[in-house]
Amino acid sequence: MAKRNLSRRFLPPDPRVAEPYRLTPQLALRVGILGMLALAIFATLFLRLWSLQVLNGAQLLRAAQNNQRRDIRVQAPRGPILDRNGDVLVTNVPGRAVQIWSSDLPKRRGVRLREIRALARVLGLSANQIGAAIRRHRHDPLTPIRIKDSATRAQVFYLEERAEDFHGVQIVPAYLRYYPHRELAAHVLGYVSEISKEQVAALSGQGYRGGDTIGQTGVESQYDRYLRGTAGLSQLRVDSLGRPISLVVPRVPAHPGNAVRLTIDIKLQKAAEDALRYGIDRARNSGCYGCWNSNGGAIVALDPHDGAIRALASYPTYPPSLYVGRVRQRALDAAGLTTRTAAAMNYPALDRGINAAYPPGSTFKPVTAIAAMQEHILQPFEPLACTGSYEKNGTTFKNWDPNVNEQMTLTTALARSCDTYFYQVGYRFYGMPSNRGPRLQAWASRFGFGQKTGIDLGSERSGLLPTPDWRKKTYTKKTDPTQWRIDSLWKPGDSIQLAIGQKDLLVTPMQMARFYAVVANGGKLVTPHILLDVEQPSSKHSPGRAVPTSPPPAPEPTNVDAQALAVVREGLFQATHATLGTSTSIFGSFPVSISGKTGTAEKKIDPGDGIFRTFNQSWWCGYGPSDSPDLVVCALIENGGHGGDAAAPAALKVFEAFFRKQATQTGPIHSD
């Protein structure tokens, strides 16, 4: 009964256990150990807390504050490009760019996709494009991805108002390239676009970062270091999801890029480009064989004293504004700027002045003449027969004018561009002892042929100066299994044709202009260049000033004999003034005396139907005024027929603009 009651009792008076519990010393020791352990643990925690909060507190506080700081690179406005008179060729217009911080996009796939789709709808892009851009930058989460360069005001307002729905989307000021003269000097100026991953990898040492704008071709690329300026830095506070929680605070201001002044002159450049189109039109209207294909060309205008480029035109061309803002593939296709359509549009992106090589034809004859006189295999006043054709070793080489039959001196031969005269000179070169190497090529090389001119404009071709060694290397059993034994030999025909700038010889219009500058300036080989100077724009803190740049290489002496040069100059003068000079009818009446040489170079071309045919490339190279030249002009019209048909009239237009004088054409053209 009592036991039953116990269970009902609230408190047992005595423990109902088999063995009463005693706090033995052993147990007390154990509890004591637990107590010590507890004390040790709490001591550790206290010390650690003290160390973190009091000893290292300031440092960790900074770390906590940095957590929410996001650095934003502020793009500097790119410097303008000016012509030699300070007139603007390229400048900027301000815009608003939309960019994405990929690390701040919603983490959940569905939410992220919905945001990207909404963004695509607002900006008029396709969600796939945005996705592709994000994927392209997925290895670089700390750089914003620019998805639109020029958002409209409405788009900007919409995005800013609904910033809550567009995590990771940011609107930043942007500078867009603006081309007031549209296509003018497109090849010279080049274009800019966002830096590629490969470029970042190669150029990160020079301060380039992903998302930067960089010049891709032309002056924009060549002098990017002056134009791009220094990016600034702004800071923004964000939460752990990257949502901005403060205004953007500028820290380091961006320094705008410097102005780059070019040696070209807008007016002359425009004249040259118009002249080029004029020349092509003339060729097309001339009805000459193949001239219906005339659709390209180049004009180079050079200062013979120092190699400053006054105009550099290439046709066909394109508006560089196609690369501004979001680049539309379809627009590039339509302009022939992609590999898919380039061939059909005759390669508009190609700068034919420096990056295309053609056979020079008769414009090369002065080189032959100087070399022959220098090598003493030709006397200037030695009469040679100029006939309708020239036969050597069973091969007949024709003159362009089959009806001629008279003795000519060198000046006359140059003036009337007698091929058979120069065939004989070429054969004399062939007969020279081979132990000193090919002499004509040695002189041509001294005048810069077969090598790059060193122009400060990106990629250029070195052309081809054929030599016996070149033949041996090029035509081997492997490359030419059936004919290599014959083709690898340098034959008389090679020397004969080289003398009139035909067969394997290839030159760029710039190389040609450079050689005529040698003739014009009395024997100095100049390095063509486009940069005049670089100017730092004036700002609140500093006045504008010129930035030191490395000067263009000084003209190199070619050690050409003054007598020989004088003969050639006389020949070139007669070519534009003598009765039967090849471009007398073009330049004879021009108030300023111009000297120059026509050229008609045969080139095998497939006009698009799969059959190669030989078309004439129309050349004219020369300078004026004849006695103290200030300008060298070299014009090339692809498939333009004879030099006097298309190239010479085009060149005249450039001289007209340069000397501000008009010419009246007289008489029929009698030109090769």
Partner: protein, 392 residues
């Protein structure tokens, strides 16, 4: 009539006795323990109010309300546990053990929540058996050891105890709830230790534990037999070299240390605690609550919390020495040590001196199961104290 008189006298006597007993009961409560736990819970609620102030937009008291409800339930549990004689647990330890293992096991069978199977969804409440298991587990093991108190020196007793313990530990580990499994292990050690297991056994067990740790963390993964999941392994070892990967595994620990350090002496207050308010510190109302508290309330506030814990642990250890029977002593030892272990691992984790495991901070972290289970544990301690052998 006589009967009635005698009955009424007896009734009056009984009433007086009952009143005296109630008074004695109340007097015999450990008021310091009760007071410090009350302070701890109150302080925890205040801290949670600040920490979660910005968490749910438009409802600043969201977590505070829920936590308060848990506290109310927990206090009820505490009262009930205080009233129940611990002897009840001793005689029924087999039922308790079976029930605990069963509860943990059915969690494994139920569907996973947030990638692991820790919770039982009861509709109104997500019940986390492993939290209650901490208490029940200690009771069951203590019952077993009390029953064998005369044969503690036998190796078989120790091995059986380990064998019994390993069942719920293994089940919890499978959930996977590595942190709770660690707490269970610590409790086993404390229970054996307080029960009076010979030193040689304890030394052997300690050696075994060290060997197991080396095996699980080092040797076996190297040999191509991973026991832990990759993220578990990384969490356990990353605190040793926190700078190796600040964005990945050690992100939490870096942010947590930044938060604690940023609190400095006085704390940054509720609105300036950017690590917490801007969510740089994940899980700042549960596992990393201490870091948030330290950020908002500074060294002063964090030390106050640690002091309260120290007070609770001291009173708990004192109860071990006062317990009326071995069972009560073992239970008290196991509960107190489990509490101490949780405090150390959780607070140590936020400060980068303990591995990262998902152990909540007792009485502070938002979470019903943990709060209620811990309050019940305090109730059991109080119950032991009330029925203590000798006092004062």
């Amino acid at each position: 009539m006589v009967d009635y008189v005698s009955n009424s006298r007896a009734a009056a006597r009984a009433r007086r006795r009952e009143a005296a007993e109630v008074a004695s009961f109340v007097r015999r409560l450990d008021w310091i323990l009760l007071g410090s736990v009350a302070a701890l819970v109150g302080y925890g609620l205040w801290a949670i109010a600040g920490i979660t102030h910005h968490d749910v937009p438009g409802n600043q008291g969201y977590y505070l309300t829920r936590q308060s409800v848990y506290v109310v339930i927990g206090v009820l549990g505490l009262l009930i546990a205080t009233l129940i004689d611990p002897d009840l647990y001793r005689t029924r330890w087999r039922v308790i053990f079976g029930g605990t293992s069963f509860l943990i096991a059915i969690v494994l069978l139920a569907g996973p929540i947030r990638g692991s199977k820790r919770w039982l969804d009861l509709g109104f409440f997500r019940f986390q058996p492993s939290e209650f298991g901490k208490v029940l587990f200690v009771l069951a093991l203590a019952g077993f050891l009390a029953e064998r108190s005369r044969r503690l020196h036998e190796v078989r007793t120790t091995l059986t105890a380990i064998g019994l313990a390993s069942i719920p530990i293994f089940l919890v580990f499978l959930q996977p709830d590595f942190g709770s499994a660690l707490v269970y292990c610590a409790a086993v050690g404390a229970v054996l230790f307080v029960a009076g297991t010979p030193w040689t056994h304890i030394a052997a067990l300690a050696a075994g534990a060290v060997a197991l740790t080396v095996l699980v963390l080092g040797a076996l993964p190297a040999a191509g037999v991973p026991i832990l999941k990759d993220y578990q392994q990384k969490r356990l070892t990353s605190f040793l070299n926190p700078d190796q990967d600040p964005g990945g595994t050690t992100y939490n620990i870096t942010q947590s240390k930044n938060a604690i350090g940023a609190g400095q002496l006085r704390g940054r207050g509720v609105d300036n605690a950017t690590q917490t308010t801007l969510n740089f510190l994940p899980e700042h109302h549960t596992d990393f609550v201490f870091a948030s508290l330290a950020e908002e309330r500074g060294f002063v506030g964090a030390s106050l919390l640690l002091m309260l814990y120290l007070l609770v642990v001291w009173r708990g250890l004192r109860i071990v020495t006062l317990a009326r029977d071995p069972f009560s002593a073992i239970v008290a030892g196991g509960l107190v040590f489990a509490l101490l272990f949780q405090i150390f691992v959780n607070v140590g984790m936020t400060m980068g001196i303990a591995p990262i495991t998902g152990i909540p901070l007792p009485f502070v972290s938002v979470g019903g199961s943990s709060m209620i289970a811990n309050l019940i544990a305090i109730g059991i301690l109080l119950s032991i104290h009330v029925r203590a052998r000798a006092r004062r």
